[in-house]
Subunit: 287 residues, 6 copies
Amino acid sequence: MELFWPEVKELVIRALHEDLGQGDLTTMSLVPADAQTRGIIHVKEDGVIAGLRIAGLVFELLDPALCFTARVQDGDQVKKGDVLAEVNGLARPLLIGERVALNFLQRLSGIATKTSRCVELVTYYQARIVDTRKTTPGLRALEKYAVRMGGGKNHRFGLYDGVLIKDNHIRLAGGIKQAVIQARQAISHTVKIEVEVENLAGVAEALEAKADVIMLDNMSAETMKEAVHLVGGQVLLEASGGVCEESLVEVAKTGVDLISIGALTHSVRSLDISLDVESIKISEQKN
Amino acid sequence: MELFWPEVKELVIRALHEDLGQGDLTTMSLVPADAQTRGIIHVKEDGVIAGLRIAGLVFELLDPALCFTARVQDGDQVKKGDVLAEVNGLARPLLIGERVALNFLQRLSGIATKTSRCVELVTYYQARIVDTRKTTPGLRALEKYAVRMGGGKNHRFGLYDGVLIKDNHIRLAGGIKQAVIQARQAISHTVKIEVEVENLAGVAEALEAKADVIMLDNMSAETMKEAVHLVGGQVLLEASGGVCEESLVEVAKTGVDLISIGALTHSVRSLDISLDVESIKISEQKN
Amino acid sequence: MELFWPEVKELVIRALHEDLGQGDLTTMSLVPADAQTRGIIHVKEDGVIAGLRIAGLVFELLDPALCFTARVQDGDQVKKGDVLAEVNGLARPLLIGERVALNFLQRLSGIATKTSRCVELVTYYQARIVDTRKTTPGLRALEKYAVRMGGGKNHRFGLYDGVLIKDNHIRLAGGIKQAVIQARQAISHTVKIEVEVENLAGVAEALEAKADVIMLDNMSAETMKEAVHLVGGQVLLEASGGVCEESLVEVAKTGVDLISIGALTHSVRSLDISLDVESIKISEQKN
Amino acid sequence: MELFWPEVKELVIRALHEDLGQGDLTTMSLVPADAQTRGIIHVKEDGVIAGLRIAGLVFELLDPALCFTARVQDGDQVKKGDVLAEVNGLARPLLIGERVALNFLQRLSGIATKTSRCVELVTYYQARIVDTRKTTPGLRALEKYAVRMGGGKNHRFGLYDGVLIKDNHIRLAGGIKQAVIQARQAISHTVKIEVEVENLAGVAEALEAKADVIMLDNMSAETMKEAVHLVGGQVLLEASGGVCEESLVEVAKTGVDLISIGALTHSVRSLDISLDVESIKISEQKN
Amino acid sequence: MELFWPEVKELVIRALHEDLGQGDLTTMSLVPADAQTRGIIHVKEDGVIAGLRIAGLVFELLDPALCFTARVQDGDQVKKGDVLAEVNGLARPLLIGERVALNFLQRLSGIATKTSRCVELVTYYQARIVDTRKTTPGLRALEKYAVRMGGGKNHRFGLYDGVLIKDNHIRLAGGIKQAVIQARQAISHTVKIEVEVENLAGVAEALEAKADVIMLDNMSAETMKEAVHLVGGQVLLEASGGVCEESLVEVAKTGVDLISIGALTHSVRSLDISLDVESIKISEQKN
Amino acid sequence: MELFWPEVKELVIRALHEDLGQGDLTTMSLVPADAQTRGIIHVKEDGVIAGLRIAGLVFELLDPALCFTARVQDGDQVKKGDVLAEVNGLARPLLIGERVALNFLQRLSGIATKTSRCVELVTYYQARIVDTRKTTPGLRALEKYAVRMGGGKNHRFGLYDGVLIKDNHIRLAGGIKQAVIQARQAISHTVKIEVEVENLAGVAEALEAKADVIMLDNMSAETMKEAVHLVGGQVLLEASGGVCEESLVEVAKTGVDLISIGALTHSVRSLDISLDVESIKISEQKN
């Protein structure tokens, strides 16, 4: 569940290419080829960090001689003003990579921070916070990683590693029971079956069908409480649908096992992080 | 400034591959190969739409026979409940593509909607709303397109198509004047030079250096007003730094030409859009 | 669990490029550009077919005007001499694509045929035949598809969609129980946990640890029978390790739920299939 | 005729991505990040090795700090129990890479072993064993390399580096002679022309047409002997069609120069090779 | 020896992406989305055409609805003023694709034209004009195709489909004879062996070694004549080294079989071709 | 404006793959695996060098242990016979990479040399030499880099980083003035607007429309002089259309600011550069 680095590298190269195109007009015009500098990455608000190694990779790909030193680790809680990392080396690649490195770091830290806030809110309940498939196209592996760094759990990664039977599927299969049986026969024995239900009757039917997980879709807290009672720990229960930070505790109090929140990844404020170039030294040979 | 479709196609294929992996376990287990259906994409809150053709491409790539009919166009203002598009055809590819299509459409419409709100706020001022390079890695072309759909203007696309001289560059070049001259010599004659300044002295110096655009970095509204007065229309003035929807009008009132807002792309709430499968018809041969 | 066609297309293009390089010297030298022909793909031994649509795609990519008509479907049992498909159109692309189309079709049909033989051997037992991760690098999706076409079931696709705890993992976690608990906490709630054990004590421990599936590694039929008795249907049991067609029935008789066979994909004889060009008609304009 | 490593690297990355997806759930859940270990790759049956450096590359791509030490070389004859290589370093990447490394190594060694057996059978004859284009799509370069490691020779790599005129081509060109002349005019002067014939009349005609190589297609040993006599060393003769290990010596005795065998690559049993993790040491800081 | 279109398509997409980036600022700003037009591609000097279908593909990839009609074929001799093709459809994609289409067409036609001039010069001699590996990186398949369109022959495509033994190789192998023998043993029997020699002694040695082709490197016409005499038609002779249009006839007169000319591809003047947009019609709905 | 190396690396890998295919038959047959050698790259005519680091990258990608030492730098003026670089290491990768390295180096140096000649011709005038978009598809970044190395300036890189309004655009927009206004509104404020005009009336109109640059298309020197007079330094003037080395000084004398020359990249003679392998040492262990 760590990142697969050859893939991350490809994402970073694409991002660099996207920003850099045929070159950084400003830096190449104004910064001498041999100017050295130090960049300090610090955070301008409290939060949880994710993506530091990716930021480091940005600089490494631009110039393997740039020295990137992390001062904190992914998953760390940081305070406004904390230094996250230091980059030393030639000024050109450092200035060129700044924006791309921050774009990754800020977005992923934004996700980790939001997740962490949610996780903290339910500390005293048994519910775990899980993400969804509502991620940025192309960045799912990174965003789900950021959720983990924030203390959240990952739901299935895609359509391929978990079964989630929704109303359309149920209708087609002729009922919850038939749907679960049909899916069980078709899929690998290593994958669980989750069924989305909309009321207590659905819960009962899913239970009888031996679903592995039941998703309570947009139910009231009251109904969810009854569902928890009905299920009595036989299968996992996941609350889903429009849960926000405000309603989170109320949902957790119902006793569900999992609460999935799409906004962890689809509606995120980037964490405010910046890179300050402390001083630029032009090598002495130059002068 | 339209999208380059072979590139969009590549992004969509990556996104599909990311979500689909070796297959949609649920749909392939439960939905008959010949079941037909109709999906209705509608919006659940007011907003501005961007990405409809990309959503259509998702379905087309999964099954060229799926018929995607847009009911509105990118850039259109829509109301809660409006139907955006209809998809008709086999149920399997329709259900499989749902999430990826919505992930593109919701994020881009979120950007267009936020941009549109900002643009509307400054309707009666001369300032234009512009974006920044604070975009999601790999999706810049799409996100800048969404900004345009929301009525905003694009700032430079990357480091390669515009010069933006910041404090670090100025320090290295020995002052604003030298920096502008040096850049002018190095770059193509088709590209303008923008200089970031922090106070009125900087404005004056940049003006003298014949910069094409001056960026007023984190200045108070008061100072910006003076800058506008000082410049007297000789060059464009761009307000930048921490502008949010609340402070936007105040900034616009200063008379600047451009207001750049990173949050247009780095901190966006997805627009709430969903796809409802109306009814599933299993073809008669089956029965 | 169908194939993701944009990915298959990429595999086919690579395969064509690999075989075709800068061109088919023989065909381009000797076959007139407008010669028309018909190719008949027939099978030269009994078997089960897989990969027909991929073969069709080979021809379609070389010339969209080539008309490929399948006479049987993937998964069909065929007899020596049966016609599998017909290709009509220009002789050049038809002759050029022949080998690549057959290379896909023969290998996948070889896998489907072998799987089918195994499945048939255990028809009267409850055991299902499953594959492994011992697939050809780069072709896993296709080979697992061929296993399904042969009537087999797929085990997990990769390291990412199922947990399989082996002895090394157990040793590190301090025992089966700890390993299962630790894994349960780390992974998504949608994925099952399978534990590999080597003796009955291991079975008992895994059972107690609430593993979802227990793999009986290289056990004698006698021991497996006892394991089946011990488990009493509480969890799934998978027999694994060196099972071949000869020993299959004996293993199935033990009452295990699953029998995994690496040789389904790592040691396969291609099914003998050939393409005969019936007659070549040179278009009349030519003469 | 060595491998082109940037291409092999791409194949390995694809294979890793295929197996690893978003991560190895088991290893990442259970193996501490700093656990060290040693893996021993040994062979469980006699054979010839091919692909060791590719196996090493698998580990290197997962973690450049993993130390892979080969104990034998590609092309070496090994005995059951021989150690092929040792891998030292972090336990996580070692366990993660195991299956992909073995999948390459076992398949290629399977090919090398089978080739070697064939080569040995004809040691005392002048015939050389050559492969065909019946290779796994996408892996031709690797599989032809394995044939070389087994002591075999490569036939043409694809349609682009040799001319092989078959019956269809001959029919179209109006006879063997015309076909050879026409091909000679069309192709580069660096490439030879081989003609497939089905009887002695064809041999005579190809000889007269000055073909460079004559392929004897599915002829009886008797007829091949006559062909050898007829040709008298003027051109190379290749026996082709359904030759298996059993009939190989009989074919070699006819005096042909080359014997091509499709099964070298299309129907191979993987060599039984495994990786044993000897002991896992958790670094002391951990404790 | 036709082009492999999926590969050409990839080249064209790259070229479009390179020129188009995030969009054609001028056309998208000024040309209405529904404006229709007709473009006429005509040639402004005499020459031989190559690359017309590639030019057509450029437009097709930008807009499948653009109608590209070729008026001549690749390989045709054209006169100043001749119309090569017509493109009808939307003005935007037509204007956007113009430069990329011409860049391919002009360069390839430049190569075809130069080749054709050389071929014509030696019409009455037996020598054929062949190209070299001195091609533009990434465009070899296209440039060798253009040589064929100009009436030239292709030498080997790369290092992989022909043996060319040069002085360094000879020195290492201990002489021409040993080199030829060693190569013969190592390579496929489908590939010929060419040896580069610098004097008549070399010719004699290569002849004795049974090389298939002898390259006469930088020899005087006189020496070449003697080589032709010495060889007496037993093997092919290729003249190489600094042959230009001026010296071509003299070289051809020596009686060599092949004359290779690097400048066919490494030093080419593009053929002057332009696209004129005849008239732009804005659809009536617009008005 | 330096090159983006991950992209250059991809171009080099493609070029190597193109030339190398499944391997260098000659070198692998004849050069021992452990033979060491030294290659000297020297230039056989006067010129300006571009692409040395790319040549070095070719060797590095084939064998990271090859030691490439540049003796001059890109942009340096060199004399016939000068040594450009030295490569030391294994003979195989050195011989294999020779042609690809030279293909890049010769073409780019050809461009730099031609550019440098043009730049020198106008030394005493204010005009700067600029390139065009008439570059080799796929190699624009490299070719524009070579122009800079030759002392030239780059015009816009593509359709995306500059506006160039041509006659078609003007006609559509209803005149120069409207076109400039319309473009100004549509594009980013960081990009300049250039207008192509055919006569003095056009110059006056463009001036009034506040175009940033005016392109004088195919005007006589006389007219251009008048244009320079008319404009009086208010905007930049670019001479364009059929300028060759012969007419260059005459054009420069008119006083224009920029002279664009398509032939800098579309019609280039490669600089004559070769690699000599000095001596091949076979390592002692071998003997």
